[in-house]
């Protein structure tokens, strides 16, 4: 029996919104493919062609397959949060879904929180899946002592990239533009951030640039607790700080620029068949 005088409790509403977004995610095959299946294929292909190489960082040598696996795991978490939200929120805006919810008494933070929470769940599940593949097929190991650092890193980064995704969603003019803009941001960043092409000794300019943007610091922070020789047991706070600062900027932009209505002439349905990456 519903008590007509009491507002519904916000936490169950948040969980319900997140569950709703997860249900939508699994019902859009193209989203599942691009968020989880495609990074897996990329990982398999890169490692099949990399040979028995090693990548050297400050703490010793990595087998290239493990190095790439963890890097692509980080990229998958970014796809699940940043790219996913930057794509889907404008679509829902053009479908009138955001406007519809704005007509209800649901608190805005619950609605937005549901999107962010579901993206984080997808990111965490994707990360576990990719690391499981790394443990099963490659030389990835996940030391128990490193788990707290791993979890803190993942949570801080996924929240931050979700905020950045919401910022892109806030400023893009149309849903069809969102896909291109998100990819134009994340793919070049991935190329200079040791995701697809591990670089022992990158040119200084690229190294500086990569460290200014948030992806490389996240890759570094995720790799540290999984290092094959000297796994970190505490989070890489300096690397995470870069990611969180970007997340804070994204949050501020999202709050200031968020729109509930589509721009006239938006193109809601096109992205359903368009690629995320």
């Amino acid at each position: 029996m519903v008590d007509a005088n009491r507002w519904p409790r916000p936490f169950p509403q948040l969980v319900q919104q997140a569950a709703h977004q997860l249900r939508l995610f699994v019902r859009v095959p193209v989203a599942v493919f691009f968020t989880i299946a495609l990074p897996l294929f990329v990982l398999l292909i890169i490692n099949a062609t990399s040979g028995e190489r090693f990548v050297t960082d400050g703490n010793g040598d990595w087998p290239v397959d493990a190095f790439v696996c963890v890097a692509i795991t980080a990229f998958t978490a970014v796809s699940a949060t940043f790219t996913n939200l930057a794509n889907m929120v404008p679509i829902r805006r053009e479908e009138g879904v955001l406007q519809r919810w704005r007509s209800t008494p649901l608190p805005v933070w619950v609605l937005v929180g549901g999107h962010v929470l579901s993206a984080m769940v997808i990111a965490v599940v994707s990360t576990i899946f990719m690391l499981a593949v790394g443990v099963a097929l490659y030389s990835v190991s996940v030391p128990a002592a490193s788990l707290p650092a791993l979890i803190v890193t993942l949570l801080a980064a996924t929240v931050s990239f979700a905020a950045m995704g919401m910022a892109v969603a806030a400023v893009v003019p149309t849903a069809s533009a969102a896909s291109g803009i998100a990819n134009a941001i994340i793919l070049p960043m991935a190329l200079i951030s040791n995701v697809f092409i591990p670089m022992d000794d990158p040119p200084t300019a690229i190294d500086v640039l990569a460290n200014l943007f948030p992806l490389r610091p996240f890759v570094d922070a995720l790799q540290a607790p999984l290092h094959p020789i000297d796994p970190a047991v505490t989070p890489q706070w300096d690397r995470l700080a870069v990611v969180v600062i970007w997340g804070a900027v994204g949050f501020a932009v999202a709050v200031r620029q968020f729109r509930w209505n589509a721009a006239p002439g938006g193109t809601t349905r096109r992205r359903r068949s368009a690629s995320q990456h």
Partner: protein, 324 residues
């Protein structure tokens, strides 16, 4: 005396464009009583959607006082939430993800309200039974609008905004939707309706308001508007011992009705008189018939439709716009 659920005074809404600002709503006044169905009519660009969007809290206004259930729709925080809990909105865009089913949508949207209807109650009320478990993306346009209506009423709203609620319905579905809206009215729900179907306004509305260039042109009960601004068509057979035959009838009728008719058409001995003053027509015809020794039979009167009234207002046939 309680305040009306919807109250608008001197509303002004402007849009910026490359050539300057455009005034979409220009000093509109509107008051809708509790339990009333009010239809807002106007041509495209007349300002009705802008007005409704201000009332829904979806558009900013430049000036004017607006209250819905005693709350300014532009309010934020607690007031905004309170208002949202007590109103229902059918938007022009559906706003429900195509990947979910109507049952899932009702469960989800219902969870936002304090005093919600059960899903079964809404399914029965809006007659969603046959497609309640199908994906929204597979529904027809009419079925989607029914779902929109279902979502709008799940929170047991006191005020319901219906923006072209039956667009895409087939005639049978439209009739069902009208019955639903009538049911909601009988429950005391106040309803503001915009529609392109004038027979819908005629059937449903207690009052209609016609706006043009952002101003209220006329306002009133459909029958009053029809009486005040429409032309009825009276028809009658004329027979008798008039020596002039049909030609004599026609000259006599023309003289008798001079100054009170808009148009006179003959089909044999039956005359069809278009006039806004049927009482005068009746009086003059009967006086002429008595003095001419003819008899009048098979009287009929066809009242003007709201559509005719609307068209006459739009074409400038009505000079007096002071009703509203």
């Amino acid at each position: 005396m309680t305040a009306p659920p919807i109250s608008v005074n001197d509303l002004v809404v402007e849009y910026r464009s490359s050539t300057g600002s455009i005034r979409a709503v220009d000093g509109l006044d509107l008051s809708i009583e509790g339990g009333e169905v009010y239809a807002l009519l106007g041509e495209n660009g007349a300002g009705k959607t802008s007005t409704v969007e201000v009332l829904e809290g979806h558009r900013r206004r430049q000036s004017g006082r607006v209250e819905v259930l005693g709350i300014d729709p532009a309010a934020t925080g607690r007031d905004r939430r309170e208002l949202r809990d007590q109103i229902g909105i059918v938007l022009q865009a559906s706003g429900i993800e195509p990947e979910i089913t109507p049952r899932e949508a009702l469960r989800l949207f219902g969870s936002a309200y304090r005093n919600r209807r059960s899903i079964d109650e809404v399914v029965e009320l809006v007659d969603l039974g046959e497609f309640v478990d199908q994906r929204v993306g597979t529904l027809s346009g009419g079925q989607r609008r029914r779902l929109d209506l279902a979502v709008a009423v799940i929170g047991r709203p006191k005020v319901l905004f219906l923006d072209e609620p039956t667009t895409g319905f087939d005639p049978a579905a439209r009739r069902k939707a009208w019955e639903l809206i009538s049911t909601l009215r009988s429950d005391g729900t106040t309803i503001l309706l915009t529609t392109h179907y004038l027979e819908e306004a005629e059937f449903l509305a207690d009052r209609v308001g016609v706006i043009s260039s952002g101003r209220m042109l006329v306002e009133g009960a459909p029958k009053d508007l029809q009486r005040a601004h429409g032309q009825s068509v009276m028809s009658v057979d004329i027979s008798g011992a008039d020596s002039g035959g049909e030609g004599g009838f026609r000259d006599g009728v023309t003289r008798a009705l001079e100054g009170v008719v808009h148009d006179v058409v003959w089909t044999g001995t039956r005359v069809h008189v278009t006039s806004s003053d049927t009482t005068a027509v009746l009086e003059r015809l009967t006086t002429w018939a008595a003095s001419s020794g003819v008899s009048l039979s098979e009287w009929s009167i066809e009242r003007p439709s709201l559509e005719q009234v609307f068209l006459s207002l739009g074409s400038g046939d009505v000079e007096d716009g002071s009703d509203g």
